[in-house]
Amino acid sequence: MNIPDELCYTKEHEWARMEGDLCVVGITDYAQGELGDIVYVELPEPGTSVDIMGEFGVVESVKTASDLYSPIAGEIVEINDELADSPELVNDSPYDEGWMLKIRPSNLDEDWETLLDAEGYKAVVAESGEH
């Protein structure tokens, strides 16, 4: 399972990465593996505001539906339109082509402090696996 060192994570299995002044968000390799074949990704319209750990959408696999939570607060400025027709990109490339949102942060410094680093997220995954 791939947990890149350079990303930050939530306990709910989203990842976040700064690109310039925008925060790119997606779900982790572990999350896509647990969900199995992803068949729909529901994302909000650009321009929507989102709270830290606020629900921003839903990912549906054949087996189950799972809510998506924003790692940081801000305004959603772009969504990955490719996922409407190719939701399997989240399975195939969760950290790259399967990205979901770009957010303009409203409270970046404080919000970023709440995120896990790769080591912290590995511990979350290890704990999930014991269930």
Binding site: D37, V39, Y40, E42, V58, E60, V62, K63, A65
Partner: protein
């Protein structure tokens, strides 16, 4: 509760399957992925371990009459090696289980849902005692494995492995045969739960692992894949086949679920007959319908079905159909509220989404 393991459990773990608890068993839900496994069954061959299904064998004087008094479908006129689908109902007509009854050359066999095995054994023992039969019911799951080989390539593969000893193409749907397989004589039946052609094999538990590996090896050039419970569910849903606990339960009658052709009234008595005769006279107040979502999203079990602002029913099973590439669902609705071809709404996460009522099944194999 200690979860049970089929004789193939270690094989599934070694193959990297994802294991989940299911009806008291630890079972593989997927190996490679639900969609890839589903497509293997539709286009090539899928191999399933369904040894968790309850396998009950009967012995004793009058077994035929005993079973005929319990099953809604007729048992007494089964030919040797013939199989029938049937319901087992309570006196009020509620469905206790849906089963297959087999008349094997030496005895009768019932295959029941894993989730209902204990309940059905108790029910049979209760009838046995209170109606003064002396029938012996033996659960065979510790000595038998049950494998399903399904898909367009299934019969040719099995024929190739069996050789000239039997002509599988001549075995009709819902019939069985005893054939040599890897040095044993086994019962193979032309049955399944996928909407495809294929066979189900009763294999001695000690030989299950060898049979599993032999089938995967011989089937490899033909695209065989092991298939877990995830794809078993999407396959049966596309084929419009009910699953106990979803389309059927003890508050649902065979008529509510559109299964009236598996209730045979003439010249026989069985538990539930009076209530079901009355229901036939009145007409069922519920029916199962097929839905295809027009809007995005999946209407999963429990989703409300809405017609003209009124709740008329509830989704009993819903998934993404890998064959149709759209979301499908079976729903239990008030009779006559949702006609085939009409559009209605389903309430997915507080949103009303558009769906089309379609005829069941969603998928029929090309013949």
């Amino acid at each position: 509760m200690q979860l049970k393991h089929t004789p193939l459990y270690a094989t599934h773990v070694a193959a990297g399957a994802r294991i989940v608890p299911f009806a008291g068993w630890e079972m593989p839900v997927q190996y490679e992925g639900v969609i890839a496994e589903h497509q293997a069954v539709r286009n090539a061959i899928g191999l399933f371990d369904i040894s968790h299904m309850g396998i009950l064998d009967f012995a004793g004087e009058g077994v035929n009459a005993f079973l005929d008094g319990i099953l809604t479908n007729k048992v007494s006129d089964l030919a040797e090696n013939q199989i029938r689908y049937s319901l087992i109902c309570r006196p009020d007509g509620g469905v206790l289980d849906d089963v297959l009854i087999y008349r094997l050359p030496t005895h009768y066999r019932l295959v029941v849902n894993a989730s209902n095995t204990d309940k059905i054994v108790d029910w049979l023992e209760h009838q046995n005692a209170t109606q003064h039969w002396s029938i012996e019911v033996a659960v065979k799951n510790s000595s038998l494995a049950l494998l399903a080989v399904q898909g367009p390539g299934a019969t040719p593969l099995l024929q190739d492995m069996i050789g000239a000893a039997a002509d599988l193409a001549a075995v009709r749907y819902y019939r069985g045969t005893q054939v040599p397989f890897l040095g044993q004589t086994i019962t193979a039946t032309r049955t399944g739960y996928t909407g495809e052609d294929g066979f189900e094999l009763f294999v001695p538990a000690d030989d299950a692992e060898e049979a599993w590996h032999a089938l995967l090896e011989k089937g490899a050039p033909h695209g065989i894949k092991p298939v877990g419970l995830g794809a078993r569910d999407t396959l049966r849903l596309e084929a419009g086949l009910p699953l106990y606990g979803h389309e059927l339960d003890d508050a649902t009658s065979p008529f509510d679920a559109g299964l009236q052709k598996f209730v045979r009234f003439r010249n026989r008595q069985f538990i539930g007959k009076e209530a079901l005769l009355e229901e036939r006279r009145m007409g069922p107040d519920r029916e199962l319908i097929g839905l295809e979502l027009i809007d995005r999203g999946i209407a999963r079990e429990g989703t409300l079905v809405v017609v003209d602002g009124e709740d008329v029913g509830v989704v009993t099973s819903g998934t993404f159909s890998p064959t149709l590439q759209k979301a499908i669902a079976i729903a239990n609705v008030e009779t006559g509220t949702a006609l085939v071809g009409s559009t209605l709404h389903v309430r997915v996460r507080a949103d009303l989404r558009k769906a089309r009522v379609v005829a069941l099944p969603f998928y029929q194999r090309p013949r």
